[in-house]
């Protein structure tokens, strides 16, 4: 059970939206994390592209709000099979479906893209069904 935290969730959401908006307003790019991450490794040798800098910021970003009492989870309460299956499906699905929560869910829906609206409805549904099956049918 986690606590209902609408206020910090809204502030966090506004912050994420602001970041994505800034990226398209200034650089003309979509803030889709799976795409940005994949593009870092799309050519070898890896160059110091804007994608590398975005990912670097993403990794350091949490440290900036730690002095204000926000934190990363100290412990990941997931089984190894969940980490491995989840990791593979998230990686495969986000690229095969051309986007994840950020690219489709915020930037795509934000542009009223039909593809992103459909993708978001599908991945929200399949995620909800998956959690239902794992928690309430198989009781894991």
């Amino acid at each position: 059970m986690t606590e209902f935290t609408p206020f910090t969730a809204l502030i966090g959401g506004l912050t994420i939206g602001f970041s994505a908006l800034l990226l398209i307003l200034l650089n003309g790019k979509i803030a889709g994390i799976s795409g940005i991450f994949a593009q870092v490794f799309s050519k070898y040798p890896i160059t110091l592209s804007w994608q590398v800098f975005f990912i670097l910021g993403l990794i350091i970003g949490p440290l900036l709000v730690m002095p204000f009492g926000f934190s990363l989870p100290q412990q990941i309460d997931l089984s190894w099979p969940a980490i491995i299956t989840g990791g593979f499906l998230v990686g495969f699905g986000s690229r095969y479906g051309s986007g994840c929560t950020s690219g489709h869910g915020i930037c795509g829906i934000g542009r009223f893209s039909k593809r992103s609206i459909v993708a978001t409805i599908i991945f929200m549904s399949s995620a909800i069904i998956t959690v239902y099956l794992i928690r309430h049918i198989f009781g894991a």
Binding site: T15, S49, F53, G57, G61, V65, Q74, Y96, G110, I128
Partner: protein
């Protein structure tokens, strides 16, 4: 080689955007897999908090995109908007999204929060990112 859309300014902008994005994910607690799974558990002890993350993100992006970006001929710091050109809802999109959702439901981690969690050096996060990368690689191969 410096591409016209990948200058030092563009890199600085990307770094700042990444910092803000990572900070936002942390404030929103979307970096916590249990929080995410409890949000997806609408038939259990539902924690609806993360709906406010998407709501907040969308308010800003919808307003900014439609009131500002759409009226601009080019971005402020480079020459062209780099937007997806594909408009068709095809099998790849729907199958990929369905698979992504299953993975998200299993682990409660999507790509942004996975990377945002990297600074702690948690071994489970490291493995998740590594396997996620393998998944992306396989998706590119089947493409």
């Amino acid at each position: 080689m410096t591409l016209p859309n990948d200058t030092s300014i563009n890199k600085l902008v990307a770094l700042i955007c990444g910092l803000i994005f990572g900070a936002g994910l942390t404030v929103a607690q979307m970096v916590d897999p249990q929080k995410v799974i409890n949000f997806l558990d609408i038939f259990g002890q539902w924690d609806a908090s993360l709906a406010f993350v998407m709501g907040g993100g969308l308010i800003i992006y919808i307003l900014g995109y439609h009131l500002l970006v759409r009226r601009m001929t080019k971005p402020i710091a480079c020459n062209t908007f780099d937007l997806p050109s594909n408009k068709k809802v095809d099998n790849k999109l729907t199958i990929g999204a369905a698979i992504f959702g299953i993975g998200w439901g299993v682990a409660g981690i999507c790509p942004g929060p996975a990377l945002a969690n990297l600074s702690l050096g948690n071994e489970k996060i490291l493995v998740f990112i590594l396997i996620m990368f393998v998944g992306m690689f396989v998706a590119k191969k089947v493409n």
